[in-house]
């Protein structure tokens, strides 16, 4: 493949990668939308009448959360298409269908968001379930869009499985194909109603927990395995062996960790015990990975080919450890989770865990993509301006996120005491907690750090657009020398 260094050129990409950059482009737009609607929703905590009747808090929050889920899904799909041809040594099977589905899915996402924004209130009926909003938190998409999501993931599964079947079937391929099957199948659990709200919520959590803490984690592990081979030149045999080990450890503790969500919905009490046991074990794989990271870093003299991507992979390791591990375990045991579940404590954990475990690694792949798109250009040390843009973006996004996490933690701590422990989860307790100075101060600081995060996002977009432009040096070869 002929390459043109320093210029965005489609000739530098294979078929799967051309499709991947489309997914990345939409992912970036939705990432921006997530930040924008999150900041407006955050302001509405402080000024409750802001945009009342025009852009209600419930809608802002819904778009904020849904945009996050969809941009990450786009990021994952794009990342898989990005590596598919290289990994399988074969052209993507059904690429035209994959392209068609991209446009259909993107059009559907646009329509869903427009309906959210323009049809904000009204009675819930069978027709509104199908056309406007299904009513389930985090997966509010109407039924027609649900079906569209399932069909899209099914086509994606076909593209990936068929390509690997016709090409080289690697260890990463095996894990990925099985995981996509689960990603497709589990979504069904959130697509049917029962008249009993406890049973309904029971299944709803299957989508939320098992997508995020099982299938997404495995997807990330596959992307990480590919990223380590690309950025550090780590050998495939080692990467794949560790992929199996880490997937086994994550599934072993993560699947039944499901029980740590079963609060306040009427599920049997034994779920608390099951959830408590497996949640207590969930951080052990993370601690184990520390040993592996030290071993690898110490046993090798590493030259990495893409400094921004490497920095974001390191941010992923720390973010996952603190967001999922430390922030999760602080309140996962049912004896305390009874009080914290659903307060800003959950939001604090959710912000750091989603950013640390998922956003960071997708951003790392964005940088890998830009490097390739510009003709395998130099992205190691000694970048123009000493690489200030990627460093500032990294710093502002991470500091902004840590600041928001701590601010939400303070508000959530106050809520767990005033609303839950003292107020007994009554409406009076709820409003007393919301009006408390500690809650309000936490919300103000969340907005301040949210602004810092937004500034980091703007610089990130600027950097992704400009990094490698006019660069004449070819990519430094990644090597992990023994």
């Amino acid at each position: 493949m002929a390459t043109t260094i320093g210029r965005l050129d489609g000739a530098n990409l294979n078929g799967g990668q051309k499709l991947a950059v489309k997914y990345f482009f939409v992912a970036m737009i939705l990432f921006g939308a997530q930040i924008l609607f999150g900041m407006v929703a955050g302001l509405q905590y402080l000024k409750p009448d802001l945009f009342y009747g025009v852009l209600d808090f419930s809608v802002n929050r819904m778009v904020h959360v849904n945009a996050m889920i969809v941009w990450m899904l786009y990021g994952f799909i794009g990342s898989v298409y990005w590596m598919l041809e290289e990994e399988s040594q074969h052209e993507v099977v059904g690429l035209k269908l994959g392209n068609l589905i991209f446009y259909v899915l993107t059009a559907a996402v646009t329509v869903v968001v427009l309906v959210y924004l323009f049809v904000q209130i009204g009675p819930g009926e069978q027709s509104s379930i199908w056309l406007i909003n299904e009513g389930r938190e985090y997966i509010e998409a109407p039924r027609w869009a649900d079906i569209g999501i399932v069909v899209s993931v099914l086509v994606f599964f076909y593209n990936v499985a068929a390509t690997f079947s016709k090409g080289k079937y690697t260890g990463i391929a095996g894990v990925l194909v099985l995981d996509l099957l689960a990603l497709f199948g589990i979504y069904f659990a959130g697509m049917f109603y029962t008249t009993n709200i406890s049973i309904d919520q029971y299944w709803w959590w299957w989508v939320i927990h098992l997508w995020v803490e099982a299938t997404w984690e495995v997807l990330v592990a596959c992307i990480m395995a590919y990223g380590l081979m690309k950025v550090l030149g780590v050998r495939r045999k080692i990467v794949e062996t560790w992929l199996y080990i880490e997937v086994a450890l994550m599934f072993g503790s993560g699947i039944l960790g499901l029980g740590h969500h079963y609060f306040w919905i009427g599920t049997p009490e034994y779920w608390f015990t099951i959830g408590g046991l497996f949640s207590a074990l969930e951080p052990i794989p993370l601690v184990a990975m520390v040993v592996h990271a030290v071993f690898d870093a110490g046993a090798k003299h590493i030259k990495n080919s893409n400094h921004p991507a490497m920095a974001w992979l390191i941010a992923h390791a720390f973010g996952n450890f603190f967001g999922a591990g430390v922030w999760g375990f602080m309140h996962t045991l049912p004896q305390i989770n009874l009080y914290t579940h659903g307060t800003q404590w959950s939001a604090s954990h959710g912000h750091l865990a989603f950013f640390g475990a998922y956003a960071t690694i997708i951003i790392a792949v964005f940088y890998l993509a830009m490097q390739q798109w510009r003709g395998k250009v130099w992205m190691a040390g000694d970048l123009p301006g000493n690489g200030w843009k990627w460093k500032w973006a990294l710093g502002l996004l991470n500091m902004g996120m840590v600041g928001m996490t701590v601010a939400l933690l303070i508000s959530g701590y106050e809520q767990s005491q005033i609303e839950r422990a003292i107020g007994g989860s009554t409406w009076m307790g709820y409003f007393a907690a919301q009006a408390h100075p500690w809650f309000m101060q936490g919300m103000w600081w969340r907005e301040v750090f949210g602004t810092m995060f937004a500034a980091g996002f703007v610089i990130l977009m600027w950097d992704l657009w400009s990094i490698g432009k006019h660069e004449t040096r070819p990519m430094q070869v990644a090597a992990s020398q023994e």
């Binding site: 951080p283 052990i284 030290v294 450890f321 049912p334 004896q335 305390i336």
Partner: protein, 113 residues
């Protein structure tokens, strides 16, 4: 079976739970570094971190009423054993999975466990 924590113990639970994970990571880090650099002086510090984890776990167990009911002490023991042995087990796996490369390297980590 589950006795909710008292209000006075909230902070103890949050803090001790965070310390369990942080000290678990520190123990794993120092353990691996000691083995990698053949520096036995670090190993006592690693185990000191584990003792810290042990104490934090006991504080957590007490504050969260884990020791008052039959099943929950089992979870405490599983956590203590899991955090103690996980770095050992992962070290074994590291040595095993990297065995080929180690034959040609000067930085061959210690295999004795």
């Amino acid at each position: 079976m589950i006795e909710p924590a008292s209000l006075a113990n909230f902070f103890t639970i949050f803090f001790s739970a965070a310390m369990v994970i942080m000290l678990g990571a520190l123990y794993a880090l120092l353990f691996a570094y000691s083995r990698l650099k053949h520096d036995p002086r670090l190993m006592p510090v690693a185990y000191l971190s584990y003792i810290g984890l042990f104490v934090a776990t006991l504080f957590l167990a007490d504050a969260a009423n884990l020791l008052k009911h039959p099943l929950w002490p089992v979870i405490v023991v599983l956590m203590l054993v899991g955090y103690l042995l996980a770095p050992h087990a992962i070290w074994h796996l590291c040595v095993g999975t990297h065995a080929e490369e180690q034959e040609n390297t000067e930085l061959l980590p210690s295999k004795n466990l």
